[in-house]
Symmetry: C3
Subunit: 428 residues, 3 copies
Amino acid sequence: MLTEQNNERLVRTGPGTPMGELFRRYWIPALLAEELPGPDCDPVRVQLLGEKLVAIKDTQGRIGLLDEFCSHRTASLFFGRNEECGLRCAYHGWKYDVEGNCVDMPSEPEGSTFAEKIKQTAYPGVELGGVIWTYMGPKGTEPPLPELEWAVLPERHRFVSKRWQESNYLQAMEGGIDSSHVSFAHRFNIDDDPMHAGTEGLTYLKADTRPKFEVAESDGGLVIGARRTVDEDNYYWRITQWIMPWYTIIPPFGTHNPLGGHAWVPIDDENCWAWSINYHPARPLTDSELDSMRRGEGIHVKYLPGTYRPLASKDNDYLIDRVAQREKRTFSGVEGISMQDASLQESMGAICDRTKERLGTSDAAIILARRRLLAALDARTDGELPPGADPGDQRVRSTSVILPKAVAFQEGARDALVSAPGENFVSI
Amino acid sequence: MLTEQNNERLVRTGPGTPMGELFRRYWIPALLAEELPGPDCDPVRVQLLGEKLVAIKDTQGRIGLLDEFCSHRTASLFFGRNEECGLRCAYHGWKYDVEGNCVDMPSEPEGSTFAEKIKQTAYPGVELGGVIWTYMGPKGTEPPLPELEWAVLPERHRFVSKRWQESNYLQAMEGGIDSSHVSFAHRFNIDDDPMHAGTEGLTYLKADTRPKFEVAESDGGLVIGARRTVDEDNYYWRITQWIMPWYTIIPPFGTHNPLGGHAWVPIDDENCWAWSINYHPARPLTDSELDSMRRGEGIHVKYLPGTYRPLASKDNDYLIDRVAQREKRTFSGVEGISMQDASLQESMGAICDRTKERLGTSDAAIILARRRLLAALDARTDGELPPGADPGDQRVRSTSVILPKAVAFQEGARDALVSAPGENFVSI
Amino acid sequence: MLTEQNNERLVRTGPGTPMGELFRRYWIPALLAEELPGPDCDPVRVQLLGEKLVAIKDTQGRIGLLDEFCSHRTASLFFGRNEECGLRCAYHGWKYDVEGNCVDMPSEPEGSTFAEKIKQTAYPGVELGGVIWTYMGPKGTEPPLPELEWAVLPERHRFVSKRWQESNYLQAMEGGIDSSHVSFAHRFNIDDDPMHAGTEGLTYLKADTRPKFEVAESDGGLVIGARRTVDEDNYYWRITQWIMPWYTIIPPFGTHNPLGGHAWVPIDDENCWAWSINYHPARPLTDSELDSMRRGEGIHVKYLPGTYRPLASKDNDYLIDRVAQREKRTFSGVEGISMQDASLQESMGAICDRTKERLGTSDAAIILARRRLLAALDARTDGELPPGADPGDQRVRSTSVILPKAVAFQEGARDALVSAPGENFVSI
């Protein structure tokens, strides 16, 4: 349960809001690389943290995200012409380069210096790990580029998708932090996921639906351990990483399966992008794995054609199938891990009213994550990177291991919790 | 014409509003019995007086209406599993019985007593007369169950339907109180209704479109007499009952036809359920009558498949047929008695602005009904039932009779104005 | 760039707003004549300056625009019966004539004088030039009827269409005043327009995309000259008329082509009617010209069937065709001159935020037009017609001419800038 004031501080991310200002100090996943396929391709509308932008890749392959609305008369640059190294407004022909400089103003007399006074808001775009990232903070304050494990692997080791979620980012992200719901919302799906099949971990997971949770702060977020009893002497631990401000890594099953991860990025305060990533540190994904992911299986979804919006949505009650629910093929009747989460999270309303919650011990990780986000607001100093922004904070991995009861999970799993692109991981 | 303040007092029915608190002291028609067909059936979303609820029938056939949003993290219980005597949230498995007790909390450690502290808001559900009724006031203040004539008859004597109306309940209910509009909005439909055909009353009704109105207070509402001249010595009276807070009974034509009735129940302040009931006190409805009602004839409507929303709606201009209007097959071009009313009432806007009205003598019943509702707000005392809540107030019937001019209609029709389930009625 | 306060003064046109009161002192294009095809035809909903109205043509061919909502109980008169010389409300039968008098009140007792106290708001309707005009100001303050050239020509000399635009009227009208955008938004369309083909003017237009602008006040608006260099001694002038409050005339190409004009009329503050007119002062339009206009070519549009809403709209990204954009068949990828304008103007948001603009020298006409509108607010005196309301102010024409550099365009083109219905015009 939160006060209304703290809930507001956590969920509002527009320009000038405290959380909005904090988030503007991180690199932000903005588009899939496939959305800007080549030089001079079509401009793409992008909304992030409440700001409406249009992204272009210019003739030289440079990427920029410009304020969507032309400085001149506020017409949308979406209708613009992506021409020789710049985006030209379709209304009066003003042309901007990827840095927002007005490089041509053909509506004004020759010799006019008016263009020099015009600066369209522009954010840089960097392609890395199948994603185009942007930085919306003050120039010169950019952290080094992300080194999340999935982002630095060779392309074939990774599959990235995104889907529109009709809710605030926080209630979406809380689903990624909250390991407890897996035993319920996804109970009858755990077998289906290509990442789970036939592993020893799965046996322990299904045997005990009441894990105990231990949560510790990491440099850049939280390490969340969920332990289940294996036998008199040992625990089975599933350990989730939360990397600030919005990344989560799903603990794997076995060593042969790909890992999973998410990013939860505000579009505006009532919508977010749910990014879903599968990756394997030590090998390329197989064609069969990629096919399944492209079909929207596992943590990915089926789309409305031509969009990144899920086919199952609030408007169609997520295509709920009460027979499947009754026959225990799905727990809620909604198909697919991601839409099971999304349906419940969106059902809370666009912005969850956290003054009405009643939190239990299984919500410990959520409570701590909120606390760390609020603390980061108070701790902001201009010279320093906020937690999770330093690549060192991002070189982590989730894991699942068996440890003797006496051993603290952070100690026992220390090596398995560090990312090591190229090397296989230990997991059961 | 009303002051803005009094209009607000009449139309606002959410939690904490004066009218909302008054309405919470009555049994409320909540669902058709068919919507909860059997034990452990699918949960159903219900909104009443601005509160979002989910209704279930449990394994033992008990009915409960729970706050839609789980006490834990506010996910919708609509996605829940209706399991062995309780509804289990699909997010973390918290389970509630029909009284809102948290009877299982599998996400918390064994031995936890947290569940005992959780109480989901829950309202009782009682099946009676083809309807599931609920009571949303404080426990222990429930009046006896309704004894409206249509509700206490054997099932085969009655047909009940409901339709969504996109307006405040009051402007819908005013149509039920206002006998004057029948001569206009429904002028060319009066013959069509299976309840009217070939009766003596119909002859008088069509002969005189300017009835005089007399209105008297009954114990639980109003008795509204509309008189037309038959000859030098006699009046033809059509007498409508309004039972507080939202029931109206249509005066019948002849004794062989079923009676009609309505309930006008707020969903929220901009939408209401219009319940329509046909019933015969002395005989089962015939197959032919039931077929016609199921097809949406008379006071019933045709639906958008899979919903209780009318096919004809604001979005399609109620399928207005100007040729039918011109050829006097319908008065406004809209088909069906209920949609003729709904189209006009919805056209006033979601909430009618009664500061702009100009009321005449034919609006006397509406004026008095508003006055009684406002008076009931002021008169509320905690120990007492509000008017219309006592079953004694509900044992009334509408009628149509011929009386000598000198006789007051309440006196002359005294016996015909009392309900008598099982006995036939007097009407012409 | 405007202050927020001045922007508000310019864009708000509802009852009681300064601009709304000014606009109510002009004749307003309300409907196409075809919308009220004959006596006792169907009533038509019309919204103007934020007021919801219903238009009828009565049995004698008189036209009235009545407040949509019945004085009695606020039901919509759209469902009314257009009967013998009056519109009868479908709820209780109150009947109004075209002047808003309640001429029948059948729900009240015979002999009642209540009807005499009822006055439904009503505005006159006058058919002229293919358009039904109304006047929404105080009775007795009407200016003489419009004498815009296109309105006073014989019917066959003119084609009039209208389309719904999802934006405030001002940003739409600014497109009509702003000659500068033609060289960009419509660059690859200029050849296509039936009004441009093979003219000398077109050659000069395409040769110089940086015209210089000179703007002068006329009696009723502005005369806007855009000059391009022809040779050492001469300029090519394209001269646009703006007639207050919302008319613009497109300068013609050659003398054999029809002229074009627009009216930009507020529906409410977030929507407007864009009227488009082609006309030839000296000859009937040819069948081929009319066919092309009816198909939605030139400045006209293709409609959603059964509506005056364009097929290409915000909801479908104006059917943008990026290949056509890339291949320079259209500048923005949107087809059609009007939808090129509408797409850009609507993209500014329903009401353009003019505090964010950066205006250049090419925006001189827009700046002056806003100034004149604001000045007219301050200058309003009750006895006088506002600028543009006097027919003398409306007898103007746009033109394109070649003039020696030393000659001021208003002097050199003096005769060509005066309308002369029936006589051909000078233009190159």
